[in-house]
Symmetry: C2
Subunit: 237 residues, 2 copies
DNA sequence: ACCTGAACACCGTTCAAGT
DNA sequence: ACCTGAACACCGTTCAAGT
């Protein structure tokens, strides 16, 4: 334990200068200490020893704070790839790691579903996914559309997990199961046959891995200009 | 123009009895007339000529109102299937129709990403997706996990569209493009090579159809108990 | 130019009190 | 039992006024 350095007159260290970076750092502190729903413009301002109005000099709104914060959180991602590991395996692990990082703080994943993360780490992530998809055999246009699809799924997975066990919110899996219990045996034959837990059955990790594998397989096997033509006219059913 | 029927003493018709159904109906009216973000417990109570506290006798919270409302909206879905149309084609059209219904009211899709819809129409939708997946060759366990994956993607598609052109919110596609313009040519080779619009390039309908096809293909070609084993141990990268 | 106190225009939810 | 007025404990954002 090192002794405290001598303090200047006031109790707290000098009031930090406001800046985009200082705001993100303070937001991060609140996120760690109290969780996302305590991260309000007012709380953020209070931590920076100012009023909420001052923040609007540096950020447009609360959504921008969230976007910056998600990128900050993604700094933890390990984005190395030695080129030897099977690209599909690496890709799945990358998406799992991304989801796990969002899951660290309930609510962050929810935020990522709503706001596109803004910042360098997110661009790094996109870049690696593109490389891995192409290494696994996807064409460039396929990879381009695939990135979005895969991240959407990983984000949704994280959001689903995020509220699980969260006080105030219901466990979504329990909720789904109880909803399915309302299935009508004759109107909902398949649903009834599978039983109310079927949609979420099995070890959570296996479902997670299967979903990502299915999405990756789909991206890799679905060419962009064939097999998906739909005249889109005619009677709908 | 028919003449107004004679009114009883008061200006407005008799105050409707409160009930779950009356609440959903009033919520629906507000949704149609003013949009989801005007649908607050206070506005809902005002339309029902009462105070917000009264609603809590019938619904647990605002999330439950949203869940009921989404199900109400899904009543519009055409859930017939003659068994002759190719199940994959029917499945894609079903998911597109589901997304389009959510897109009718900006914000409803956002809500569906956060809250599991609760009600009979949602169960009907699950049932049909299960049938179509199995008709297309999926095993029951595959279909069970696939339902969730496909709906997640369709919902996310609707949510992305929902904020497009919405006042107050940025167009997400424009936002993504502008973010990608920050790519660093040496750090983000693939991203730079593709150009800033690549991830969202092409006619929106083609991207939408491709994403759904990719997901459907993935679900149909990814067996549940093989090909996706991951020891999950060892060094991560 | 940069910063901010105070206000504006709201929220969801609870609860004691009424009928 | 059913219903509700009023309050509790907050929000994000704006803007006129200060330095």
């Amino acid at each position: 334990v090192t002794p405290d350095p001598p303090r200047s007159r006031r109790e707290r260290p000098a009031k930090p200068a406001l800046s985009r970076e200082a705001i993100v750092e303070a937001a991060w502190d609140i996120l760690q200490a109290e969780g996302l729903d305590k991260l309000t413009m007012r709380a953020l301002a209070a931590r920076l020893d100012t009023g909420p109005a001052s923040l609007y000099v540096y950020v447009r709104n609360v959504a921008e704070v969230h976007a910056l914060l998600i990128d900050r959180q993604l700094a933890q991602l390990d984005l190395r790839w030695n080129g030897r590991t099977d690209p599909r395996t690496r890709l799945r692990r990358l998406l799992v790691a991304y989801a796990e990082i969002l899951m660290e703080h309930p609510g962050l994943a929810r935020s990522a579903q709503v706001t596109w993360p803004a910042g360098p780490h997110y661009l790094d992530l996109l870049e690696l996914i593109l490389r891995l998809l192409q290494a696994a055999g996807a064409s460039a246009p396929q990879a381009a559309w695939g990135v979005d699809l895969l991240l959407q799924i990983a984000t949704a997975m994280a959001a689903e997990h995020a509220t699980r066990g969260q006080s105030g919110t219901d466990d979504p899996v329990a909720h789904v199961t109880s909803q399915l219990a309302n299935a009508n045996p004759s109107r909902h034959r398949q649903l009834t046959a599978l039983g109310p837990q079927a949609l979420t059955a099995g070890p959570p990790n296996r479902r997670r891995d299967w979903s990502l594998d299915a999405a990756i397989n789909g991206v890799l096997t679905t060419p962009r200009n064939a097999g998906n033509a739909d005249p889109g006219q005619g009677v709908r059913h």
